[in-house]
């Protein structure tokens, strides 16, 4: 699982080979082994989820990929070059775990500043800035210093700065942290859009539902070591069970079908009505409220 398949159809965008990262104290003594012998690869167009509890080494892995931290052992390559190469970083967008922003700059100045770092000309800078402000829904707050922003707004402007250079590889560290459900859904939709455009996304999160919705492949880290890696469907599917979803509103028919299944399988089948998840329900309510739909508040079974 850990070694690379040299016969893979597309070259990997990110390769980590037996990477170990040891943090040392002032006297150079080993303090924490944050990542241990980690080998993963991420291919073009994938949405790759990096999962794990707090302190499992997700952020360290991401910072090693970006060249902000240096691997104690092993090799990290991004677009075929060593991590931290400035030419490579021009194709990378990064949203840190916390939105580290210059608090005195306004949202527009922030995006303009990061656009300057990529050498975009004035016209392109203006266009990208306005596009991204619109994309993350901060047009109204464009001239406010980001130091005054709420956490959710900071995440939005952080996300915008990560996309300022139209990157081929987008690395998002806890992108939905601090966002309301509408913002979370927008971020997930954005990640899907990026993947549809052929961009590669690495997503670090401990919100499993977010990862499950958008990722094509995941790696699970625990205490700095890789515990599982593979496609989301492959890892989550339970091949011992089969589920049928049938448009059948007649309880009598459902009862007869259950009896037949019990007879055939020799065990009690589970029969229930599928429900939408809370996120979809919330978004549905908010959307209808936003459209000015009048009527009684949605409750239990009265939901359409």
């Amino acid at each position: 699982m850990n070694d690379f398949d040299s016969q893979s159809p597309t070259p990997p965008v990110v390769e980590l080979r037996h990477v170990t990262k040891v943090f040392r104290d002032f006297w150079r003594r080993p303090k924490v082994v944050a990542v241990s012998d980690l080998s993963i690869e991420v291919r073009r167009g994938e949405v790759f989820g990096l999962l794990g509890p707090n302190g499992s080494g997700k952020s360290t892995t991401i910072k090693t990929i970006l060249g902000l931290l240096h691997a104690s052992a092993g090799e990290v390559r991004v677009f075929g070059r060593p991590a931290g190469h400035t030419g490579t970083l021009a194709r990378v967008g990064y949203l840190p775990e916390e939105s580290y922003l210059y608090r005195y700059l306004t949202a527009r100045e922030t995006l303009d500043f990061y656009a300057r770092l990529f050498g975009l000309d004035a016209a392109l800078r203006r266009r990208r800035t306005e596009e991204l402000l619109r994309l993350v829904g901060l047009q109204q707050a464009a001239n406010r210093p980001v130091g005054e922003f709420s956490k959710g707004m900071s995440r939005r402007i952080g996300l915008a700065q990560a996309l300022i250079n139209d990157p081929d590889l987008v690395i998002l560290d806890e992108p939905t942290a601090g966002l309301d459900p509408v913002g979370c859904r927008q971020v997930k939709d954005l990640i899907r859009d990026l993947a549809a455009q052929g961009k590669t996304v690495i997503l670090s999160s401990h919100l499993l539902a977010d990862v499950e919705h958008v990722c094509s492949r995941i790696a699970i880290l625990f205490n700095g070591t890789l515990r599982a890696e593979g496609g989301v469907r492959e890892l989550l599917v339970n091949r011992d069970l089969v589920r049928f979803t049938v448009p059948c509103a007649d309880p009598a028919l459902a009862g007869r079908m259950a009896a037949w299944l019990r007879e055939q399988c020799g065990s009690e089948p589970a029969v229930d009505n599928p429900s939408m998840n809370l996120e979809s329900f919330f978004l549905d309510v908010v959307q209808r409220a936003g459209e000015g739909t009048t009527g009684a508040p949605a409750r239990g079974a009265s939901r359409p």
């Binding site: 931290l69 030419g87 970083l89 840190p96 770092l117 990529f118």
Partner: protein, 328 residues
């Protein structure tokens, strides 16, 4: 070409972030006020009020300048490293060398602007000090009270104007800092219309231009100090960096006295003496005593020393920062 653009953008941001910190504004304002007060509050001038005013002004320039350079350097690099903004910038296609040099350029712009205010204040303080004048327009002892009042009013005016502009959305601290240098320069220009007794007279600035090279030398010490502070802050957090800066400053001030006698006899002491910055090189105010001047050769030698030392410190800083882990 892109590196130049990045350097300019980062240096501009560094300067902006530095001058938007209240500490920098307060230090700069304190320097102007203290320099303006020296000639007015002299109790015992030993017959040399002009000298005490200019020495006081230069000392304030150096002291407050070192504080501003040290604080701005430490806060811009050590704090950005810990706060994570450095990680966000360095995750873009910005080389660490460009990032580090941009920090130095930004801090240098700030200390140069501060030096404009401090230098103009020192020139004015020397003019204000009570002296015996013997010219066609004025004979006798005079203290230039009018200029003194204007000089002390300049920071208050800068704060008031910045406050008014803040009503229109301009950030107070940075505007006040910019106006802090404009104020003494405007006073300097306006004072030329009056003599030291406060009477209208043909336009003449009536300042001791011999002070200018001394001011330039003190100014040259500040980027040098900023380079050392930045080099230290590549690896150390803010508090240890500030402590290190103080130690470097004290070592530099004392090295000539402590290490000097031993340097000619012992290679180790000679090496340490050469390694520690010699701040005395930048303090040539004593050359002005008795109507003396700072020789052009001395000025150039001191500037070359400052430039070489700053370049050396920057090279060390670049090398250290290249391998520094940015884990904000």
């Amino acid at each position: 070409m892109r590196s130049v653009g990045q350097l300019v953008a980062l240096a501009r941001l560094t300067a902006l972030e530095a001058v938007r910190q209240p500490v920098v504004l307060l230090l700069a304002a304190a320097c102007v006020v203290a320099t303006g007060l020296v000639p007015m509050l002299l109790m015992h001038n030993l017959g040399e009020p002009g000298r005490m005013a200019r020495d006081g002004g230069l000392a304030f320039h150096l002291t407050f300048g070192v504080l501003i350079a040290g604080y701005a350097s430490c806060s811009t690099l050590a704090r950005e490293r810990s706060a994570g903004t450095a990680a966000t910038v360095l995750s873009k296609s910005v080389s660490r060398r460009v990032f580090f040099l941009a920090k130095f350029c930004g801090v240098t712009v700030v200390v140069l602007w501060f030096s404009l205010a401090a230098g103009a204040s020192t020139l004015l303080a020397e003019r204000i000090a009570e002296k015996f004048h013997q010219s066609s327009e004025l004979v006798g002892y005079a203290t230039d009270w009018r200029t003194a009042r204007w000089l002390l009013a300049a920071p208050a005016g800068a704060f008031a104007l910045a406050g008014a502009l803040n009503l229109r959305g301009r950030p107070f601290q940075s505007v006040a800092f910019l106006l802090l240098a404009v104020g003494p320069l405007a006073v300097l220009a306006a004072a030329g219309c009056f003599n030291q007794a406060g009477a209208w007279s043909p336009y003449d600035l009536r300042v001791d231009w011999r002070l200018l090279p001394a001011t330039i030398l003190v100014t040259a010490a500040l980027p040098c100090f900023a380079a050392i502070a930045l080099a230290l802050s590549t690896r150390l957090p803010m508090a240890p960096t500030m402590t290190g800066c103080v130690l470097v400053l004290l070592a530099g001030l004392l090295s000539a006295h402590v290490l000097g006698p031993w340097a000619s006899r012992n290679a180790l002491f000679a090496a340490v003496s050469g390694f520690v910055p010699d701040w005395q090189v930048f303090w040539r105010a004593d050359d002005l005593a008795g109507g003396g001047r700072i020789a052009a050769a001395e000025l150039l030698r001191a500037l070359a020393y400052g430039a070489a030392y700053a370049v050396g410190a920057l090279c060390v800083g670049c090398a250290l920062f290249e391998r520094t882990e940015v884990n904000g």
